[in-house]
């Protein structure tokens, strides 16, 4: 029987409420940080679709974020488009590119999949690095934000922009949560757990993998478009492989296989690196120690471990839940 209030949704609700509260109370910089983290959280969720659900560990996911960013930048700055259709086209374009890439890469597994996604994303990085029309390695400044006057939001106010990104993130979360609870999502999890069995049951495994690869690419494109609007700027660094690496670390640190885990990972990793890097030049050392600690003591990730203990606890069971 499906329950409406799973632990994941409960925590998601809590996070949303917390960030809405914070976006009112913190000052300018905190609001900027909320928007930044929310955008990262959307990006992390999109990667978790691949890593946690379909078992496709991609080290090139930033390519689709970058494509979303560049499409937004190029269409609005160089062609003078309105932001709303630009965002839709950016998402579609990221989807199209991920379809083209996906056709070739979803057949591969494990280390081969990691290497090919890394290679493809570096190709995109190299293209934008060298392309002088789009600013080369200096990047492309001057990107505006979506006009939301009609909804009573002025997006140049950082609090309002933070709220806007939060709303988008909630919509993305609901959409992906429904998708993953649907038969489509169940099939994916099945493929992750035992691909051969699913194949022998007659499931077109490659098509399912391709579909999730495209969806993940589109959501990454959306986060890219938001990031370009937030920073007003896009450069090839947005699609460098280290960006893919950092978001992969976020997903793993948070806990793979649950959307909330990806969000928790994005929040904690970003906040930590912000705080520690203000304190010391050697902040990367402390981040490294932190990740080692997670791998040693919370191998399911921060949220994964939390959820495990929570589900075992009496309180959660007494609230009428099975230890799912």
């Amino acid at each position: 029987m499906k329950k409406l209030f799973t632990l994941d949704r409960f925590v998601a609700l809590f996070l949303i409420a917390l960030s809405l509260l914070l976006s009112e109370s913190v000052e300018y910089y905190g609001q900027e940080l909320i928007a930044e983290i929310t955008i990262l959280a959307i990006f992390a969720m999109s990667l978790d679709l691949l890593v946690g659900y379909a078992g496709l560990v991609s080290l090139g996911h930033a390519a689709f974020l970058g494509i979303g960013s560049y499409a937004t930048g190029i269409l609005t700055v160089q062609y003078g488009w309105e932001m709303f259709p630009t965002m839709l086209i950016s998402i579609a374009l990221a989807g199209l590119v991920s379809a083209l890439v996906g056709i070739f890469v979803v057949r591969l597994e494990g280390i081969f999949f990691i290497m090919i996604t890394l290679a493809v994303s570096q190709m995109f990085h190299a293209y934008f690095l060298k392309n002088r029309e789009f600013g080369g390695d200096d990047g492309m400044p001057g990107i505006q934000r979506l006009d939301l006057e009609a909804f009573g939001l002025t997006v140049f106010d950082p609090a309002d922009f933070a709220k806007f990104t939060l709303i988008v993130a909630v919509l993305v979360y609901i959409g992906l949560d429904l998708l993953m609870s649907s038969p489509f999502g169940r099939y994916l999890i099945g493929i992750h757990q035992n691909e051969n069995r699913m194949r022998s049951l007659g499931v077109p495994v490659e098509q399912y993998k391709l579909a999730i690869f495209i969806i993940a690419g589109m959501v990454a494109g959306l986060s890219g478009s938001l990031q370009a609007q937030h920073t007003g700027f896009v450069s090839p660094d947005a699609m460098f492989w280290t960006v893919s690496g950092v978001v992969l670390i976020m997903v793993i640190a948070g806990g793979t296989g649950s959307l909330v885990g990806a969000v928790v990972g994005a929040v904690i990793v970003r906040l930590l690196s912000h705080q520690i890097s203000s304190l010391t030049e050697h902040w990367m050392l402390f981040m490294g120690l932190f990740f080692i600690a997670i791998v040693l003591f919370a191998s399911d990730g921060i949220y994964g471990t939390f959820a495990k203990y929570c589900r075992r606890s009496r309180w959660w069971k007494s609230a009428g839940n099975s230890s799912d």
């Binding site: 300018y28 910089y29 600013g135 080369g136 390695d137 200096d138 990031q227 203000s278 030049e281």
Partner: protein
């Protein structure tokens, strides 16, 4: 006894009188530089030199102490921008100093401009900042890319190099540098007889490119390479044995003191243009190098001098406004009005675009006692950025 009390009271009350002055809010300088990643060395170098500058020129103005708030850009535009916002809106710094890379600078520019934060650029050479992207809130103590390369075009023509071959890595800055050189060189009447743009990353063997250069027999080869590729290129140039037949010229970063040792024989006889080399002969440079050597036991680099001069600019501007930064406009005007004879010679800011007006030094590497080092060959005085599209 009463007298003792009286004296004590006087002493205590004088403490109270002094306290408000000492407790005055410090002047916060936001150091927005790379402290990790490929450019970490440069970020630290500029910070050290800035601290040295404060020691030499005074770290307190009218009772306000100058304190640094360091933030790591990682050399990445996105991190740089987010740290810039932290410094401006959370730490509320009075003035920003940095960054190293042009990409970070381009990303920061709008935020700095819109928040009206005084900003002293201490390295990044992005041309746009002295052009279409200029701002009344930004000055630059380092250089604009074209400022260093363009005058070299004319200089080479004037010194008898009429046919020149060009080579630079295939990325935005590489092409920009070559375009600026071409502009200066062609204006003077020279001819470009060939251009090569090898890939930025992963060119291990410059042999095929150098073979083409050899065949074309130019009067000189003008290149732009920096960092790792510069080491690789100069080594290949030496190994290829072109040094005896074709003179090699480039912008200063080609044989920076930071890596000239790794480049070997190839670095000998190279002609370059730079805004600073350690052996410039003037009193201010001697004082700077002495102070730097005393503190760090080695020569101050061209990156360090930009941090040192930035500190001086800020200290002198603070003196001009008596340490009062509450009127940001007045403080910024004071920054723009600073002028002094520094290690690089006479420097001042261009009223048109806030870029430094400085001497460009043509240097030549030569070998003395087995060590290859640059010495000043010629000086091009008071070079301005040829700003065309800046409207402030």
């Amino acid at each position: 006894m009463k007298k003792m009390y009286f004296l004590l009271m006087v002493a205590l009350s004088s403490l109270f009188l002094l306290t408000p002055i000492h407790a005055a809010e410090p002047v916060k300088v936001g150091m927005i530089l790379p402290y990790s990643g490929v450019y970490a060395g440069l970020g630290k170098e500029i910070t050290r030199a800035f601290e040295l500058g404060l020691e030499v020129f005074g770290d307190e103005v009218n009772g306000r102490k100058i304190v640094l708030v360091q933030e790591d850009t990682e050399g990445k535009p996105n991190s740089g921008l987010s740290k810039t916002k932290k410094l401006i809106f959370s730490d509320k710094v009075d003035v920003l100093v940095g960054p190293v890379s042009s990409g970070v600078l381009a990303a920061m520019r709008d935020t700095v401009h819109n928040s009206k934060t005084p900003f002293v650029i201490a390295n990044a050479g992005h041309d746009g900042i002295s052009g279409a992207k200029c701002s009344p809130w930004i000055v630059r103590t380092s250089f604009s890319n074209r400022q260093v390369v363009r005058p070299m075009g004319k200089w080479m023509y004037d010194n008898g190099y009429r046919k020149v071959y060009l080579m630079a890595p295939d990325y935005a800055a590489g092409h920009q540098m070559m375009d600026h050189f071409k502009a200066g060189f062609k204006e003077a009447g020279g001819t470009i007889i060939g251009e090569e743009y090898p890939p930025l990353q992963g060119t291990k063997d410059f042999g095929p490119y150098l073979a083409k250069v050899k065949e074309a027999k130019p009067d000189a080869l003008f290149v732009f390479f920096a960092g790792g590729p510069a080491i690789q290129f100069v080594k290949s140039f030496g190994a290829f044995g072109l040094g005896n037949t074709i003179p090699l010229a480039g912008a200063g970063w080609l044989t920076s003191p930071l890596y000239i040792k790794a480049q070997g024989e190839g670095a000998n006889n190279i002609i370059g243009s730079a805004n600073y080399i350690p052996s410039i002969d003037n009193a201010a440079n001697k004082a700077y190098q002495d102070a730097f050597k005393a503190k760090h036991k080695r020569e101050g680099s061209e990156f360090a001098v930009q941090g040192y001069d930035s500190a001086r600019v800020i200290v002198e501007a603070l003196k001009a406004v008596n340490g009062d930064t509450s009127d940001k406009k007045a403080f910024m005007d004071a920054i723009r009005a600073v002028t002094f004879d520094g290690p690089r010679g006479k420097m001042r800011f261009d009223s048109k675009n806030g870029n430094i007006i400085q001497n460009i030094y043509v240097y030549k590497n030569s070998k003395t006692n087995g060590v290859i080092a640059p010495s000043v060959f010629d000086v091009i005085k008071d070079v301005q950025d040829p700003s065309d599209s800046c409207t402030m």
